[in-house]
Symmetry: C2
Subunit: 181 residues, 2 copies
């Protein structure tokens, strides 16, 4: 249920609409948590039912009215409880790992192509995150509070992409060596 918590966290600083949240998830938060707008709207209704967020309608002409949400006291308490409860580590779930196991049935060349694509993707994302890091957090030692947390998660993202870059390269090297021999 971490989507609910990601939303609550985002709403702490500012009132946001579902649409705003969806954009936010595409940008900063979304570096490490994906959600479609449908899912966000659904989750917001559920959070409102549980009184963890409060809704407020802002009327607009020419555009549909905005419904902005803010965190309630109960929502804050809920967030704190969640942070104290044991977090369960995420399982891996990377298709390429399953594909590796299928090597032998599947041509090595196919796998190598997949690896190279994955590599390019991770490389692009890592560079994007690093640019963000350099821009937003030039002096990590001075950070505190919210900013420190955001920095740490960004670091996690960078490391995550680094992992796939290194691993796909290791795989390509070994597959290549195999091909030659």
């Amino acid at each position: 249920m971490a989507l609910a918590h990601a939303i609550l966290t985002a709403l702490v600083d500012e009132e946001l609409s579902g649409y705003d949240l969806a954009k936010r998830f595409d940008a900063s938060l979304g570096h490490f948590w994906k959600a479609s707008h449908q899912q966000i709207y659904k989750e917001l209704s559920k959070l409102e039912q549980r009184a963890l967020v409060a809704a407020r309608v802002i009327e607009q002409q020419a555009r549909p009215d905005r419904i902005v949400y803010s965190v309630t006291e109960a929502g804050l308490a809920h967030l704190r409880d969640w942070a104290g409860a044991p977090a369960k580590p995420a399982p891996v779930k990377e298709d390429l790992l399953v594909m590796c196991h299928a090597l032998g049935l599947v041509p090595a060349e196919t796998l190598r192509t997949q690896m190279m694509k994955r590599n390019a993707y991770a490389r692009e994302r890592m560079e994007m995150l690093q640019r963000l890091e350099a821009k937003l957090f030039p002096d990590p030692a001075a950070l505190k509070g919210r900013a420190l947390g955001q920095y740490l998660s960004l670091r996690g993202g960078v490391r995550y992409e680094r992992l796939w870059i290194d691993w796909t390269e290791e795989c390509c090297a070994l597959l290549e060596a195999r091909r030659k021999s």
Copy 2:
């Protein structure tokens, strides 16, 4: 839908029952793909309906009959198609990254405790995977076919755990430094 493919891959080498698969997922395959027995049984029925696997009943007394499955020609073709199609990179989905964003609302000490637990967990898993690696693949350069694929995925697992070990330590260090100042 990679669960279906993970199952197909596992069934290529040997006929297995749902129960066997569940154990397999707890052991080798499961190092990088989790599935409960309920999910596996359900997926097997679906695969059988699509004729990608064939079922065979082995009668037993004293215990429930076993239903063992093997991959059909169509199943193999399906696996190969899947391997050729672009694999989508898995999003991160690690609760601790969301928790980082909640820093400031949530005490730094709580976060540090979570980080240390995550660290211990990753450390344990990495060591287990490394023992497996040393035992099963003492000479990586000589590997080919299925074995090479299994080695590569194991390497991915090791790197994955390494990532969380390093990251949680970076986080603890920074949180600690913050506390002192």
